[in-house]
């Protein structure tokens, strides 16, 4: 049996984390291939619905990352995002959606090493948690024959 390779999607802002991940590249710091980045203008733009969609489309884990508080390119997008995440996380937790599968972080344009660390530690966490079978079962309901 081949080892479980987690599918992880990263939602990052253009100004801090995307640039930070660029720095990881220019610094040639290695990290796992499992994480793939989608670029947003700002964490404020990251709709909770996209996180929901990611699980529905088979993500095992999600990274959401942007500028540190007070460093937002748009001054307050990350503050809005933070509130949204607090509420969303609470709701997911209530519903039994494993909040350990979503890693939120602040990674600045200067934190190339931190980005690599976030990626690697998230991949390790998800590897330990294993594939998100509970959610896949729910999402793949139609693939197996409907009971009714």
């Amino acid at each position: 049996m081949t080892e479980f390779e987690p599918k992880i999607i990263a939602f990052v802002c253009n100004w801090c984390t995307y640039a930070g991940a660029d720095l990881t590249g220019t610094s040639r710091i290695k990290y796992a291939q499992n994480v793939k980045i989608v670029r947003f203008p700002c964490t404020g733009r990251i709709d909770f619905m996209l996180l929901l969609k990611s699980f529905g489309e088979g993500a095992d884990g999600i990274i959401v990352s942007g500028c540190h508080p007070n460093d937002c390119h748009y001054t307050s997008g990350n503050f809005h995002a933070r509130r949204r995440w607090i509420m969303f996380r609470g709701l997911l937790d209530m519903l039994g959606i494993d909040v350990r599968r979503i890693q939120y972080s602040w990674v600045s344009a200067a934190e190339g090493a931190k980005w690599a660390d976030i990626v690697n530690s998230t991949v390790n966490t998800i590897r330990e948690l294993g594939p998100y079978t509970e959610y896949e079962k729910v999402a793949g309901y139609l693939e197996k024959e409907a009971k009714q």
């Binding site: 660029d22 290695k30 947003f40 733009r45 990611s54 307050s76 690599a116």
Partner: protein
């Protein structure tokens, strides 16, 4: 039908060393909607770009994905190439195969697979891209400067000298601000008025500056390039065109005992008054609150003595509407009243004064003509105690921040005192000496060494009067925290610099944000220190945070240059990656329900209202409308909109969803 071109760059060996570029290009070619795909050594090179341009023309591509380095590196390059080939530049996207893939992974199958995933994701995005065009906004080349202190004066002169019109609004009867009240300035000890008054006169005489004193901003509407400001010109009760500034009225006015604001209450003025002799404009106003005629209905002495008949008792406030393209806020600061600290005895003991009052005592034009005399008995103090941080850096009772200027002016005060009262003794209680500035530390050293000012590191716990002396009790923390007690003749409190009392209201009128201390907030603490979060509104001076004169002047010039840059073009051209509110067929018109939660979330006040009317002009619904001049494209509103009625161009809901789906479905 999409015809996407995929161009995979080897970046020499930078990408190709770990990613099988040829296979990425081949796999991309098999994707639905991909018309053409190719890999090449250097896509950003001339031949590489030519490859793209040719493909656009020959294959009729509707979109381009370049798989190469970070878009932060070469997005402009490739978008320009597309534009040159006749494709809208916003139909080009980049997959980051270098920084996010080849450089961070080893050479193996998974790395190539990741590159394929990234390319597929961007292919799905670009299919949904729409041609976008820069946004043009016309610019009114007039600046509104609010506040006529040194910041406002400097900004006005700079903008006016660049050839643009300036409207300078000052709430007091004269421009000059706090700087005009100062005696000498640190660290050079040159006379404040001597350097300021010529600037004031220059403002008054400048053909490009329209000066509105005794006036305040009533309302500000519009956006960058096209603001509409309403100014309230308070009634001066004077016909300014007739008044020649002879001053007869002010000498004859029978109400003479009004504490002078300019002299911080240490002197008096009349009810019809010019705040200070060098005032600009040098024409009086009637202080209605204190005028016998306004209060009791009789007097009119000024009217009788006025040789030109310029007195107008029936004058009313006037609202003036002006159109401006940029606003500079230069409303300055205020002094915290030390009466909030009863232990210092301010207000209780006449000879406990503030630093600003000391400035007036030390000023040659002040109430004592520059002699340091006690307010209580006019005696020259033999011993004087200065208390630094009288309110600053005191989270418990005062303000938590450092007022920044006090260390320097206290040193200056002690120095001026020593220069004027040679036998006097001066003490300064301080917490730390903060003298970061050109020649500042040297200045403080001079006070300590040359002028023998006694610096005591410690705080004052109590000041009380005993036998005609002010007993200052404190502690010297450098001498094993030994209690210190000084019998002083006079105490000067370096009271904290705080925001103006009307700052919050003004900020709300202008939709600029402010911090918890009510100082106006800059758009970015490092990179946009003079901009506010509202485009076209700039900050100068101490309204943003306490600062000294050179800093204020620099920032004022900075703000002025921002306005001048804005005025350098006839229209503004902006990136079209902004939010838009949707439109749908009648009778819905827009799915926006007008809850305006987006407006409250927008950091730029870019969301306003739009009324949708029917053919008869009846309002059907009120929906949100994004001002393209203000929107910066953060997309916070988009994630916030429950009905998904607002979307952001370039990062649209459809595009982002397509990316998520494509990224996670690789078969």
């Amino acid at each position: 039908m999409s015809k996407i071109g995929v161009f995979i760059c080897h970046c020499g060996e930078n990408i190709n060393a770990t990613v099988d570029c040829a296979r990425v290009a081949k796999t991309a070619g098999e994707l639905e909607g991909v018309e053409y795909s190719i890999d090449y050594k250097y896509m950003c090179s001339d031949p590489g770009q030519t490859l793209i341009k040719q493909a656009i023309k020959e294959k009729g591509l509707t979109g381009v994905v370049v798989g190469s380095c970070s878009p932060r590196m070469h997005e402009p390059t490739f978008r320009k190439a597309c534009q040159e080939a006749g494709l809208n530049p916003f139909m080009c996207e980049m997959a980051n195969l270098r920084e996010h893939c080849s450089w961070v992974h080893d050479k193996n199958e998974a790395t190539t697979q990741k590159a394929i995933d990234l390319v597929r994701t961007l292919v799905e995005k670009v299919k949904l891209n729409k041609p976008l065009y820069s946004i043009k906004v016309p610019v009114t080349k007039t600046a509104l400067v609010i506040g006529g202190g040194i910041a406002g004066i400097q900004a006005s002169l700079d903008i006016a000298n660049a050839g643009h019109q300036v409207i300078l609004v000052e709430k007091d009867p004269s421009i000059g601000g706090h700087m005009s009240q100062l005696s000498e300035t640190f660290p050079t000890l040159d006379c404040s008025q001597c350097i300021l008054t010529p600037r004031m006169v220059e403002v008054a005489q400048h053909p490009n500056i329209k000066l509105l004193t005794y006036a305040e901003l009533e309302k500000l509407e519009g956006s960058i390039g096209n603001f509409k400001a309403t100014i309230r010109k308070k009634a001066k009760s004077i016909d300014e065109n007739l008044c020649n500034g002879c001053g007869t009225c002010t000498t004859k006015c029978p109400t003479k005992k009004i504490p002078s604001e300019f002299n911080t209450g240490l002197g008096t003025r009349t009810a019809i008054y010019v705040p200070f002799p060098q005032a600009v404009p040098n024409k009086p106003v009637i202080d209605k609150e204190n005028c016998s005629y306004y209060q009791k209905g009789k007097c009119k002495v000024c009217e009788k003595v006025c040789p030109t008949g310029a007195i107008r008792f029936d004058q009313e406030d006037e609202l003036v509407e002006i159109e401006v393209g940029a606003v500079v806020i230069a409303t300055g600061f205020n002094i915290m009243q030390p009466s909030e600290f009863p232990e210092y005895g301010y207000g209780k003991y006449k000879d406990v004064i503030t630093g600003l009052q000391f400035e007036r005592l030390a000023s040659a034009s002040g109430p004592t003509l520059g002699e340091i005399r006690r307010p209580s008995d006019g005696k020259i103090p033999e011993k004087i105690v200065f208390v630094a941080c009288a309110g600053s850096r005191d989270p418990a009772k005062g303000i938590p921040y450092c007022s920044k200027i006090c260390c320097m002016y206290t040193a200056k005060h002690a120095m001026l005192y020593q220069h004027k009262v040679h036998h006097g003794k001066s003490y300064i209680f301080y917490m730390d000496i903060r003298a970061a500035g050109k020649n500042y530390e040297e200045f403080v050293r001079r006070a300590i060494v040359d002028d023998e000012v006694n610096y005591i590191r410690g705080r004052v716990s109590k000041i009380y009067e005993e036998n005609g002396k002010l007993i200052v009790r404190g502690v010297d923390t450098l001498l094993n925290a030994k209690p210190v007690e000084i019998e002083a003749d006079m105490v000067v409190l370096a009271s904290a610099a705080i925001a103006n009392p009307g700052a919050e209201e003004l900020a709300q009128k202008m939709h600029v944000s402010y911090d918890s201390y009510h100082f106006f907030s800059e758009a970015h603490p490092k990179l946009k220190p003079v901009e506010t979060n509202t485009a076209g509104i700039f900050l100068a001076g101490a309204c943003q945070a306490p600062k000294d004169i050179p800093e204020t002047v620099s920032q004022a010039s900075g703000a002025a240059s921002k306005a001048i840059i804005l005025f350098s073009k006839d229209e503004l051209s902006r990136d079209p990656l902004i939010a838009v509110v949707n439109r749908s067929p009648a009778p819905v018109f827009s799915t926006c329900v007008g809850c305006f939660m987006c407006a409250s979330a927008c950091p730029y006040q870019a969301i306003g209202e739009e009324l949708i009317t029917n053919r008869q002009g009846k309002v059907i619904k009120k929906v949100a409308k994004v001002n393209p001049g203000l929107c910066q494209g953060c997309g916070t509103c988009v994630a916030f909109c429950r009905s998904k009625s607002i979307d952001i161009q370039g990062y649209s809901n459809e595009q982002m969803c397509a990316e998520v789906v494509a990224l996670l479905n690789n078969d």
